[in-house]
Amino acid sequence: MQPHLKRAFTLLAIAIIGFIAVRALIVPDSFGQNGWYRGDSVFELRNFPVKHAEPVSCGEEDCHKTIYSIWSSAGHKTVNCETCHGPSQEHVNNVRIMPPPANDSRDFCGLCHFKRAARPSGFPQIDPETHGENLKCAYCHNPHKPWFV
């Protein structure tokens, strides 16, 4: 073989081997395992910590059984515990970690119940100017067992 061809082929071989070596180092092992992405990232996303528990976690094991049975048979049963009480998975895991108390301000109840034009007409709404004389809603209404006048 002529020397200039030898050099050319050697260079080509080095380039190809170098490309394979660098690619093997850079591309993550799980890339392309399930498709054009890093397969391990699915696991990373699945292992993200859960922050909201479900209402059953509150009612089971005699923790909040009384309030759970009152809530689950009354008008606010579609409103889950954590909608008002905030994310509580930490508290479920370790009862010593207390979630902050539920917001009992008029404005918080008003997020759902102040009169707004865009709300479905059948939904119970009040005019905050004329209803309740600026008292906290829980003064008259039990949030776990609401009643409608």
């Binding site: 080509l12 093997a24 395992q33 992405y37 890093r38 606010h76 909608t83 939904f123």
Partner: protein, 259 residues
């Protein structure tokens, strides 16, 4: 040695074929070994599920608890105007013969809405919760230059935060505005339908937080799932069906003004 043109071509072809075959062999040995021990099945088999989402706009009261719960669950920067899910308010005002549509979403609806248009001027008004549509044919996945965003077997569009280079093409590519740039991570970010929850049998945080059941989540492969039950009896629409993205977020009671 004198090389004829034919011989040169022969040797060249051999080298190219040999190198390609070698790369393919090394690749297949390397990836097969990993795929066997690290398959995405585990306790949750993603081939058994195909998730879907349904929003009944007739029930939504615009309380914004969904957007609030989403931010808390997924560590979305709370004080930045970025949302994985948000609530829009549509108000159609009748001024004589002209129709005027006002669309707003102050802080994604988290702090609620106040009426700044007199009720007697409003012809119709309603809330529309928005969320990533997890399209079957997602434009955001097509435009990603590095393979950092992808559709899973169970029909969820996810972002690989370690692989994303933060170029923002996907944010531009999404016709629904469902993606945002996460300044804490330095990557694009989006709704995952709470992938860490649904793979453990829980509901997404927004569905959990909704006090009126306007948001429904379920498995489209399970005929008894709540989503399928509503899909079977209600009249369904999706957002921007003309784009061919095939969204998996179905809407009940959508107005023609909603985009």
């Amino acid at each position: 040695m004198n090389l004829s043109r034919r011989e040169f071509a022969k040797i060249g072809c051999r080298i190219v074929i040999g190198a390609t075959a070698g790369t393919a062999m090394i690749e297949s040995i390397a990836t097969n070994g990993i795929a066997a021990e690290n398959s995405p099945k585990g306790d949750y088999n993603w081939k058994e599920h195909y998730w879907g989402y349904l929003i009944d706009t007739r029930k939504c009261i615009g309380c914004g608890r969904c957007a609030n719960a989403c931010k808390l669950e997924n560590n979305v920067p709370f004080d930045e105007p970025v949302y994985r899910t948000w609530v829009e308010r549509y108000r159609i005002v009748n001024k004589g013969r002209e129709e005027n549509v006002t669309i707003d979403s102050p802080n994604g609806g988290i702090n609620g809405f106040t009426d700044d248009i007199p009720a007697e001027q409003i012809k119709k008004a309603f809330y529309v919760p928005k969320i990533c549509n997890h399209c079957e044919n997602p434009p955001c996945v097509q435009v990603c230059p590095v393979g950092a965003t992808y559709s899973t077997e169970d029909g969820v569009v996810l972002v690989d935060y370690n692989y994303c280079i933060g170029c923002r093409y996907c944010i531009q590519g999404c016709p629904y505005g469902a993606r945002y740039f996460n300044t804490e991570k330095g990557t694009a970010d989006k709704c995952t339908w709470c992938y860490h929850r649904i793979t453990k049998g829980l509901q997404p945080a927004c569905v959990e937080a909704c006090p009126v059941g306007a948001r429904v989540f379920g498995d489209l492969k399970d005929p008894e799932s709540p989503v399928n039950k509503i899909l079977d009896k209600e009249r369904i629409n999706v957002l921007k069906p003309d784009l061919g993205t095939k969204p998996k977020v179905y809407y009940v009671g959508l107005d023609r003004e909603v985009r």
